[in-house]
Subunit: 133 residues, 3 copies
């Protein structure tokens, strides 16, 4: 149940590329963290002119007009090792899927306790259950 | 001050339904947690083609094209009991308001300390005050 | 690396005003917290009719049609003092930039450990490093 929000420049990516991005984000969980394939919960938001700002060089990157934010609501129980694995997989798979530079993906992992997710029906399905993924 | 973000399929819900959804989310606080009626802070975002992905069956649900994400920035002091109550109320009230299935509402409760909200004027009004709601 | 999301009423602010808002948010970090100028990572989202709800008076404010949400993903290590300083700077600088009332800015500071940010290349650049800012 990591849930993804990708914030991308408007008009820059095709519908096909957005689907490929969603696949890449899902696969970052599957390949990186051993999460089931069905765990595919993703939002993409387009931002128009003067609505998306990523500094071109801060922290030694070379960012372009392809640059995007990816925010992930991820289980708060994940140790640093899992978070590093996840970020590396997102970077590799998303850049391959879109043909963009790894400098163009900014990631924020927002920790959320497993208790706090409802997959439907108003129940918190993972409450009081040891994390499986 | 739980703050809501609903992410819905573009063109699927009318203006009237969006207002009804906002009312339902507000009432989930009022009826579920005893929060004042005036605590009504809600964003709705539409997502177009290839911008919203909720797996059709993961975790035993039967999701349709009505499916949406509801993200709630909720006081970090809330015990599990409050979170379960809130999720159950969101589910019931939003599905009633929109005439959709409870399987179509995915909820993420993001914990935020009460200290971290400003209702205006750049002040953190709830800092160093015991939570009332 | 506080990352900002501003949620504003559609069609209310010009492109020039959106740039001014981004500058104000960046300057709230620079002037308020001594963060480098290059730390400028901001998303703005427009919300149309029946997509943005801020109660007109809750908590003693007088909100207008200018009202907006500003969500900040901010280092979880920040003490209350830093959070108060940041909120006060956002309020002052954004209201000056846009010519709106301080009652019209609702702020949510979402705590995120420094470990959880990737500025690019799939690395968590601040992991296991003492916070500089």
């Amino acid at each position: 149940m990591p849930v993804f929000e990708a914030h991308v420049p408007a008009g820059r990516y095709t519908t096909q590329q957005k689907r490929a991005l969603a696949d890449a984000l899902n696969q970052s969980l599957v390949q990186g963290l051993g999460v089931p394939e069905g765990d595919r919960f993703i939002m993409i938001t387009e931002h128009g002119d003067a609505e998306l700002f990523l500094h071109p060089t801060f922290m030694g990157m070379d960012r372009s007009d392809d640059a995007m934010f990816i925010t992930v609501f991820v289980g708060a129980h994940r140790p640093l090792d899992d978070k590093q694995t996840l970020a590396a997989h997102i970077s590799r798979l998303a850049t391959e899927a879109l043909g963009i530079s790894p400098d163009d993906i900014f990631i924020t992992l927002v920790p959320v306790p497993n208790d706090n997710f409802s997959f439907g029906r108003g129940e918190l399905q993972l409450a009081e259950v040891a994390p499986r993924w």
